[in-house]
């Protein structure tokens, strides 16, 4: 099969689209950045692609709440196209703001009759934080994380605190193998801030939907593609590639 085409969704305030494009190019995909307005005009555009990425940034300024306005747009105007896309065995990835968007649009965890079951809200530190963290992957059936174990990636957000409406729901997600990424320390152990940089319940850093084909995560894999992006390369030497590249390569190889 030919290299998959990746739609990187631009929107006012999205700002990690260029480096996400670079990451997918490195991984052998054919990424294209497309504005959400084009997609709204022509929802069928989506069907020409195999992967949809909602990149990081501050869509619509994160006014109201992080990712909320773009999430609303997806839910109101593109829900049919998105469902069709997902049901066609295709992949959807949301990074940082994109995770907030996917979650609040109900694409990761569908709401029940009482509303949404989980959200991403203000870090318990009370402010935006840019720092490198370790992740423990539990890939389950999530193709993006195939073969991933421990990842070292940066987070950079103010609203990454994953909270469930009821405590039992977190358990449910765990049992369904939907919690695919957790914050850990360098040795793989959970810990308080700054190991868990935002206070997320269960140290949740990334979740996937029931199918595993929709993934949202707060850390930025596209910021660790080149070895020079690592904060300690002058100490430890240059690696072959950054930890994050695997996620993009997995997405590309899923279609081979």
């Amino acid at each position: 099969m030919a290299a998959p085409r990746i739609l990187i969704l631009r929107a006012p305030g999205a700002n990690c689209d260029a480096e996400t494009q670079f990451a997918f190019e490195r991984a052998g995909g054919i990424p294209e950045r497309i504005h959400v307005n084009r997609l709204r005009e022509q929802p069928n555009l989506l069907q020409r692609f195999q992967v949809l990425v909602v990149p990081g940034g501050f869509t619509y300024g994160d006014d109201v709440a992080a990712g909320k306005i773009l999430a609303n747009q997806l839910a109101y105007f593109l829900s049919d196209a998105l469902r069709q896309f997902r049901d066609a065995e295709k992949l959807i990835l949301g990074v940082c703001n994109g995770f907030q968007v996917l979650l609040k649009a109900g694409l990761l965890i569908p709401p029940d009759e009482d509303g949404p079951l989980a959200t991403l809200t203000n870090n318990t530190s009370g402010h935006f934080d840019d720092r490198w963290i370790y992740l423990q992957a539990a890939p389950g059936n999530c193709p993006f994380l195939r073969g991933c174990e421990r990842l070292h990636l940066p987070v950079a957000h103010g609203e990454g605190n994953f909270i469930c409406r009821e405590p039992w729901f977190l358990k449910g997600l765990e049992q369904a193998n939907q919690i695919v990424l957790r914050y850990v320390d360098a040795n793989g152990k959970p810990g308080p801030y700054p190991v868990n940089p935002n206070g997320s319940q269960g140290d949740v850093a990334g979740v996937c939907d029931m199918t595993g084909r929709v993934l949202g995560l707060m850390p930025h894999p596209e910021r660790h593609v080149l070895p020079t992006q690592h904060p300690r390369w002058t100490r430890n030497g240059l690696a072959e590639e950054g930890d994050g590249l695997q996620i993009f390569r997995n997405a590309v190889e899923y279609f081979e």
Partner: protein, 959 residues
């Protein structure tokens, strides 16, 4: 109908905690916790929407039911019930409210008939708080942009502005005498001197008419210090010597001479011409850099001031050539110490802690939203920044080689793109509105604005696409002076005709003059050929950016403005730009005229009695030296993916890197190092030495991480007191002369600069003048980022060398400050040695001979080695040479020095490499996590655990 959505957090009430902490800080009390019972936030929604629609907006958009509880109520007049414990804080009418704007736009997208939105915060105040209300008000709201409504809201209307009826205003000045002219300038807040007023008077007398108000405003704006830099470009009588144009003779002059010296290899592209200075980078791209200040607005409203300060400087690269892509930001702040006693604050001055938090948040929210990494900065504390904090923001841009020049053509449309025009930044503008309190509200249009980063991000997105599609001939940003400045500058050689009523407005009621001089943010002006206009308009519309043609560039040599068909201005471009009379100022400088009297030699306590462990901890804990991690982490310094050397480095990513390195073109391995130098402590001794040291520090920083010393461009930003006082101007002349001398010696051209004069605070009999503060920013090119070096010690068993000469230069040092010692010798740069040191260091790095490298700056050798050791969690043993004093060896701040770490196998090669510059072996690294330093008599005078030193360094600003 008017609906109120009130939202309460289910978990921690963070805003209540903020109010408590700030109240306690300001009043040195512990009452904050009982004053406010809870806080909420919310929205006022006005429009023809019924309850179901309002509820749907609330549930689907405004509140997050997982973590918040929301209530919907209809606001009726008279109110359903009166609750006088509710304090509602609203932005004043006309102040930018990005959240309200987003809600309005989103609602329209969902076809909800919303007409107006305002956001609010609300506090339930303890009725027993009576005596505390004055202080509490200050904590709840900032009067400059916000208002407090006590009790119920009863608005009838949220819209602002009233219709404007055109009336041409002429200003009769032809008959005025000197006193009359001066009064006119003062009352109209024109800030024009008598000389300038007389020149204008003579011009209009010759024309046989009076100027209109908008003509006079145009001249005042174009001739302002801010836009024309008339002091530094004017004539200065310096101790009897005539300087025709200080900038030309010093800073520009040095660059011109260097460019001649570079010859065919001249890598400057456009310097001191465009909105940012441009230099060559690769075959495909040039880079540009600009640094600006936003001091006065930040003093009044720290968040908004810093916010719009950064927003403004980002538009400079965007408006350079045909538009550069911003690739990183810098920020440098000067504050009074955050532990300043609240009782000591002069009237109207915000507490420095509040200023600092607001400024950091303002930079954070704009830079992060724009998706531009903030990679380098500095913070400097001095009590003299109390009423007058300094906020420097800089932006580096990347621009394709073919997009570096612009030239508007006759017939091009004048197009405004981006934000709408309001009364923002119009001095003294006030207007009444139909308002929330049923009382007339005054808007302080003045200096205070809030930015809307997403408006600017959208603007950037379309500008870069339009640039690549060749849709315009020229671009510039609307900064100070608004359209007047942007159109005036762009049309200087051509002429322009503008129909002011075409400009899209935020609200009704602006006069033609207000439209012309408004400083509303997030706007740019393009010169668009007529055959590209449709394509440009369609492109902008496709990404929800407003673009409006407001006039035409025309080859008339005149600036003509009209409003609804009436001519309101007709000025000769030549008079606007070249008509200003030359400014003549007096300047004096005499060695010895300083605030702190210099003392010859050094006063140092007897070494035997000094506990250097304690002194080292004290210096590490001083505010200028200590860790700024609290600030750095709030900035996204990695967005765009180009980060190579981060601001924080080391085994725990928390050591103080010398400079940041970014890779603007991903995967290319060509890098840019960004650093800065600023040392106002030295200015009290000699502004010449201060400027030289600042350049040395900026250059040192970027060379320390791997920049090629032959490819370093520098920028100057002067922040000075009132230069009408000869001694203040004299100190500036001294600093400018150092800039010339050192730039020439180092071969580092100045490519851009800016000055901010009159940084003083006056109230009653209290006058505070800032120390003369020169920021030097450096943009160094890194030929191969894989050769970059960081400051953290790497492994045990390596040799440490001190590069450079340590002299008895304790004047203005952080050691002296920590020990309460005045005087001393001010550090002097050696202009013949320094360039050789930089060159050799770079050569050693290119050969991969260095494991770590740290420049010696604040706190000298002792602080540098401590920082290297705790950043790398590798110990070090040092042995000081036979200097005259251990204190000098440890803490002198002599410039052009580095501490380098070398693996044993490379020691011989390093010694050869540095054969003709001073390099002394000074110690080695070790596994034990401690720092030991032996004094000149061989005894350990420092013996401290790294954890202990690190704690001292991290604690003060770990907020």
């Amino acid at each position: 109908m008017l609906w109120e959505v009130e939202i309460e957090a289910k978990g921690r009430d963070a805003e209540r905690d903020r109010v408590r902490d700030e109240y306690d800080l300001l009043t040195s009390s512990r009452r904050g916790t009982e004053l406010v019972r809870r806080s909420t936030r919310g929205y006022l929604l006005e429009g023809e929407l019924g309850e179901p629609q309002a509820r749907r907006l609330m549930d689907d958009l405004l509140a997050d039911p997982v973590v918040e509880r929301a209530h919907l109520t209809e606001i009726v007049d008279p109110p359903a019930h009166v609750d006088s414990t509710a304090y509602t804080v609203l932005l004043k009418p006309g102040v930018m409210d990005p959240v309200a704007q987003s809600v309005l736009d989103t609602a329209h997208g969902l076809s909800v008939p919303l007409a107006a939105v305002r956001t609010f915060r609300r506090y339930e105040v303890n009725p027993a708080a009576d005596g505390a209300l004055k202080a509490l008000h200050k904590v709840l709201a900032n009067d400059a942009i916000e208002q407090i409504v006590v009790g119920p809201l009863s608005p009838e209307h949220l819209g602002i502005g009233t219709p404007y009826t055109f009336r041409l205003i002429a200003v009769p000045l032809r008959e005025l005498d000197n006193a009359g002219l001066e009064r006119l300038s003062r009352d109209g807040q024109l800030s024009l001197s008598l000389d300038e007023m007389k020149t204008i008077q003579a011009h209009f007398q010759a024309l046989g008419r009076d100027p209109t108000d908008v003509e006079l405003e145009t001249l005042a704006q174009t001739w302002s210090e801010h836009c024309s830099h008339k002091t530094l470009k004017g004539t200065i009588d310096f101790n009897g010597r005539r300087i025709d144009n200080l900038l030309k003779e010093t800073i520009f002059g040095a660059t011109q001479e260097l460019r001649k010296r570079f010859g065919a290899d001249d890598w400057c592209v456009s310097v001191f011409e465009d909105n940012a200075g441009v230099v060559r980078f690769t075959d495909e791209y040039h880079v540009c850099f600009k640094v600006e200040t936003h001091n006065h607005p930040s003093a009044i409203e720290p968040y908004g001031g810093a916010n719009t300060g950064l927003g403004g400087v980002i538009r400079d690269p965007m408006g350079t050539g045909l538009g550069a892509k911003p690739i990183c930001n810098t920020d440098v702040f000067c504050f009074a110490p955050p532990d300043t006693l609240p009782e000591s604050l002069p009237p109207g001055v915000l507490h420095p802690m509040k200023v600092m938090k607001g400024v950091v948040a303002g930079v954070r929210d704009y830079g992060n939203r724009m998706g531009i990494p903030t990679v380098n900065g500095a913070v400097c504390f001095d009590p003299r920044y109390l009423g007058n904090p300094l906020v420097y923001c800089g932006t580096v841009g990347l621009i394709p080689v073919s997009r570096c020049t612009k030239e508007p053509q006759a017939g091009d449309l004048i197009v405004t793109v981006g934000g709408r025009t309001g009364r923002d930044g119009i001095h003294g503008a006030t207007f009444s509105s139909l308002q929330l309190t049923a009382e007339s509200e005054q808007v302080s249009g003045g200096a205070v604005q809030i930015g809307n980063a997403i408006a600017e991000k959208k603007l950037l997105d379309v500008v870069l696409q339009a640039r690549d599609r060749n849709l315009y001939h020229a671009i510039t940003d609307c900064g100070a002076g608004g359209f007047s400045s942007a159109v005036g500058e762009m049309g200087e050689k051509l002429g322009a005709l503008v129909a002011l009523e075409k400009a899209p407005l935020k609200y009704e009621g602006l006069s033609y003059t207000e439209i012309w001089i408004s400083e509303s943010q997030e706007r740019m002006i393009l010169a668009v050929p007529r055959d590209k206009w449709d394509e440009l308009r369609a492109l902008c519309a496709s990404e929800d950016v407003e673009a409006t043609a407001i006039g035409t560039f025309e080859a008339t040599g005149r600036l003509r403005l009209s409003y609804q068909g009436n001519q309101v201005a007709d000025l000769e471009m030549k008079f606007v730009h070249d008509g200003r009379p030359n400014v003549v100022r007096k300047a004096t400088w005499r060695a010895g005229i300083v605030d702190t009297p210099p003392v010859a030699g050094v006063v140092i306590p007897p070494a035997r009695q000094e506990d250097f462990n304690e002194t080292l901890r004290k210096v590490l804990s001083s505010l200028n030296v200590c860790s700024k991690e609290w600030i750095v982490r709030q900035y996204d310094h990695e967005v765009q993916g180009g980060s190579v050397i981060k601001p924080l480095v080391g085994v725990h990513d928390d050591g103080p890197g010398d400079a940041a390195v970014v890779m603007p073109v991903l995967g290319s391995n060509m890098g840019l190092a960004i650093g800065c130098g600023l040392n106002p402590c030295l200015g009290d001794f000699d502004p010449y030495a201060m400027a030289a040291a600042a350049i040395d520090e900026a250059v040192r920083n970027v060379v320390a991480v791997g920049a090629d010393p032959k490819r370093i461009a520098i920028l100057d930003n002067f922040c000075w007191g009132n230069t009408n006082r000869p001694e203040v101007l004299g100190s500036l002349v001294r600093a400018a002369e150092a800039c010339r001398d050192i730039a020439l010696a180092y071969g580092t051209p100045f490519i851009s600069g800016k000055d901010s004069l009159n940084n003083e605070y006056h109230s009653g009999d209290r006058h505070i003048t800032i120390p003369p503060t020169l920021l030097i920013s450096a943009l160094g090119q890194v030929p191969d980022v894989r050769r970059c070096v960081t400051m953290d010690l790497k492994e045990a068993g390596n040799a440490l060398f001190l590069l450079g000469i340590t002299r008895n230069e304790m004047g203005g040092s952080h050691y002296n400050a920590a020990c309460g010692i005045a005087g001393g010798n001010v550090p002097q740069v050696d202009p013949s040695l320094a360039p050789r040191v930089f060159e050799k260091l770079h050569a050693a790095m290119q050969r991969g001979l260095l494991r770590s490298c740290h420049d010696l700056s604040e706190g000298g050798l002792a602080v540098a080695v401590a920082e290297m050791a705790f950043a790398g969690e590798i110990g070090a043993d040092l042995k000081l040479g036979a200097s005259e004093s251990d204190a000098v060896a440890l803490f002198s701040e002599s410039p052009t020095r580095f501490l380098i770490e070398v693996m044993p196998a490379n020691v011989a090669a390093v010694q050869v490499c540095f054969d003709d510059v001073p390099l002394v072996p000074i110690g080695q690294t070790c596994r034990e996590p401690r720092l030991r330093i032996a004094g000149r008599n061989g005894e350990w005078i420092v013996w401290a655990s790294l954890a202990d030193l690190k704690e001292a360094w991290q604690k003060p600003l770990r907020w």
